[in-house]
Amino acid sequence: MTDSNERENEKMETSVQSSGLADVAHAAKRREPGSMPMGRGLEARGVHAWFGSNHVLSDITLDFAAGTVTALIGPSGCGKSTFIRTMNRMHEFIPGAAMAGEVLLDGRDVYAPGTDVTKIRLQIGMVFQKPNPFPSMTIGENVLSGLKLAQLKVANKEELMEECLVRAGLWNEVKDRLGAHGGSLSGGQQQRLCIARSLAVRPQVLLMDEPCSALDPGSTLRIEETIRQLSDSMTIVIVTHNMQQAARVSDYTAFFLADGGPGAMIECAPTSEIFSRPQDKRTENYVTGRFG
């Protein structure tokens, strides 16, 4: 009890500090007892990233309020993917990778000493650019693979499998062949399978790294619908090169740019504002297609 009170206090503090992004409406969408898990807010505080001596990301401070969808846009090589990979600590797998700053999940630093990194990745799920289902597992096993990998137990696996596939918008297409191999699906279906897989461990945050870049328009649309539905119950951060997609799915949009030096965030605002009246000239040039 006291623990959750503390957490709420921290949350109040951080939402006061936050840069206007976590507006009151979203902050009010907190988890109520017995309701669906609402998703937790995620905050980046002065995040830098390096690969060896190459400084690729400079001083990103950005809030992702609970239950919102934030799109990260910007030209290739501006550090968007690197940035979201620092959030669930996937960044550190690359040899020579380093970071600075803090990433707070529900007010707690995910890089704090003594943190169980596997727990962090359970709470902050990730969907990759290229669909990567486990080829040695069936469709059903793929959905539940996270439970096996993290050694979690659930009462009713069938129910969870169906729920996740329904939420990922894949259930109707695969319900008759859950025993088939994951590799037998089309690219778009594989990507939705990967989304279903990340939902099964019930993350509070879902990071999506260009999830539709390898897919046809039809599959892209299905995944965008999925994202909209998921945003009711979790915080979503999506990297995309498709500005229409950012406009369609996101509440907030952050524009990243590497202007010769390390990647930096130029501005972040509600999506409609970024596309209609951006504050920065460079953002305007980018969203109107003048470069990038």
């Binding site: 669930n88 596997t118 359970l122 290229k130 040695s136 990998l149 993290a150």
Partner: protein, 326 residues
């Protein structure tokens, strides 16, 4: 010409390769064929030299174990019988023990090298493992005889005491030295480098996106390895094990040094007696007359085919395992 006037005649498509390409093709083709020719010549040679024995002994060459030859003073063969059942069983037994011991150790070291060891240690260990593969087998044999055997005897007795009810681990006259068990351990140490380096190679080719997918789902390193790396590398590990098995079956000096050669089928791996085909050949080769040499050639041919069968089998397993994956 053609009945369908609308469709044009199909053109014949030809290419004129450049001279450099032709030369290169000839070099590569002769290289590829030469290994096939050498293999063929060896089997023809062994078959030719051993043919008389096969005709004389028939199937009993494979099913019986007596090996004797009596000659008169002039060197004429009076009576003889050659059977390699004991050696055949011994070959399979020793190499099976070797693979059983070596496989888990090799897979564990390959996983350690790929996923756990820091970079500097990894480089050193890879060099050490490669050096181990090139180590002369006589040294393994001497080490096995002088160093390993005394301590292996203790382990053999322990196994016998607690698992003696299993026929394999029974020891009838209590002789624990120079057993197939000890030979198997020596062979295991010899084939660990091969299986390790092949396993390491296949494990290191595990697609990164699958590894990341597992980690992103909250997997621990071990859970990731079990779910992603091992299913991916299974075929390659089996192939490596089969290659190791092939080497263990053909190993001569190390087995000869350690094992007590005995012309009797022995399934009791802890009992001090056994043999393998290669060690029989080296044991007999020096003081054999022309007729016995023929028998050794026949034994060699059997070993040759046994190795071929194992390699073909491993090839089949690897190919099937890799086909299932994609």
């Amino acid at each position: 010409m053609t009945p369908d006037a609308a469709a044009p005649a199909k053109r014949e498509i030809t290419t004129q390769p450049r001279r450099s390409d032709q030369v290169f093709r000839a070099i590569v083709t002769s290289g590829g064929l030469s290994s096939l020719i050498i293999l063929g010549l060896i089997s023809i040679f062994l078959g030719y030299r051993g043919f008389e024995i096969f005709r004389h002994e028939g199937l009993s060459f494979l099913t019986t174990s007596d090996w004797f030859l009596t000659t008169d003073d002039a060197g004429n063969v009076l009576d003889s019988h050659f059977g390699i059942a004991a050696m055949l069983i011994g070959t399979i037994l020793c190499s099976a023990i070797a693979v059983t011991i070596a496989l888990p150790i090799s897979v564990a070291s390959a996983l350690f090298l790929n996923f756990y060891s820091p970079g500097w240690l990894k480089r050193i260990l890879i060099a050490v493992v490669d050096m181990m593969a090139a180590f002369p087998s006589i040294l393994f044999g001497i080490w096995g005889f002088l160093v390993l055997m005394p301590s292996a005897e203790y382990w053999a007795k322990l196994l016998n005491r607690y698992l003696g009810f299993v026929p394999f681990f029974k020891v009838d006259p209590p002789i624990f030295t120079r057993s197939p068990f000890v030979a198997g351990i020596v062979l295991a140490i010899m084939i660990i480098p091969i299986i390790t380096s092949i396993s390491r190679e296949v494990f290191s080719q595990t697609p990164l996106d699958r590894i990341q997918a597992a980690y992103a789902l909250g997997a621990t390193r071990w859970a990731m390895i079990r779910a992603v790396v091992i299913p991916y590398g299974r075929g390659g590990v089996v192939g490596g094990a089969m290659l190791g098995l092939g080497r263990a079956m053909g190993e001569t000096v190390a087995v000869y040094t350690v094992l007590n050669i005995m012309y009797q089928v022995n399934w009791q791996v802890l009992f001090g007696g056994g043999g393998n085909i290669a060690s029989l050949i080296i044991l007999k080769f020096g003081d054999s007359g022309p007729y016995e040499i023929k028998a050794l050639m026949a034994a060699g041919l059997v070993l040759f085919f046994l190795t071929l069968i194992v390699n073909a089998g491993s090839d089949f397993i690897v190919r099937r395992a890799t086909r299932v994956k994609k």
